[in-house]
Symmetry: C2
Subunit: 156 residues, 2 copies
């Protein structure tokens, strides 16, 4: 699997968060994740099948996701309640869907499952796919988030 | 989606944990999960596509998974390290695979993605599938674990 496969997810994350929450994000340097250390407070995870099999995740710090969901809902969000979890599920779905459309234009067909949302202060995520785990950190005015993609080598 | 679809997962969980760790599990009463409250310390999550789309998870308390992995590895495990996370990934894969084989005999074809492992004291999991979230609690001599299955209504 070409590591450039992360780019459509990166563009999709920027596009979706900008569109849904009107928040500009600054992309950090993509890296290959060696351990399960990127800790966060809320994550959306989605299983991927199709031309490759694996998982995509997006992990937010509490301050970051509160600002994003406050903008999405047009009201100040003060705790990680069900509204926030629903919004993280929605964002995860939209980012994965947007990335899949971009990849399909390149002839790569991935199928997304239904997302799962994890809430828990400082949890870690470990992807089990055999390929490298690609991570991209983002900065927002209210704190960071990170996207991660792990795929088994497929046909592409 | 027929709620009896949980049964193959229930049988698979018992079979895999008994086979891999020689630990007898006692099945509790299955229920429909209304919130994201089943808290645990380590979870394996796997996305599902095919005749239905959704997610399967298995969430262990720390004492429970330490006992299981100690038996699997033949050495006492004292912390939630990478060995434990790998073992949870392996168990999640095996349970899902075993359940899928059982379902295929009933004419239901599901495809499993690659599992993701979550570690974090008392994290919660929220499944976003539109169908009911089916949960089954299990008891082991070293503490409980719970399996959860959420699928969008498919063809079956």
């Amino acid at each position: 699997m070409d590591v450039r496969i992360i780019n459509p997810f990166l563009e999709a994350a920027q596009n979706v968060i900008n569109t849904m929450a009107m928040i500009e994000t600054k992309v950090g340097k993509p890296y290959i994740k060696k351990d399960s250390s990127s800790l966060g407070d809320v994550s959306g995870i989605i299983g991927i099948t199709g031309d490759a099999s694996g998982s995509f995740s997006i992990t937010f710090t509490e301050s970051c996701i509160k600002a994003i969901v406050s903008n999405m809902l047009g009201m100040k969000v003060t705790e990680l309640n069900d509204d926030v979890k629903d919004a993280v599920g929605e964002l995860t779905n939209m980012i994965c869907g947007d990335a899949r459309r971009r990849l399909e234009e390149q002839g790569i067909k991935l199928v997304g499952a239904i997302p799962t949302i994890i809430a828990g202060k400082g949890h870690s995520i470990t992807h089990m796919a055999k390929g490298p785990i690609l991570a991209v950190p983002f900065e927002t005015p209210n704190g960071p988030f990170v996207i991660e993609l792990a795929l088994d080598s497929g046909n592409n």
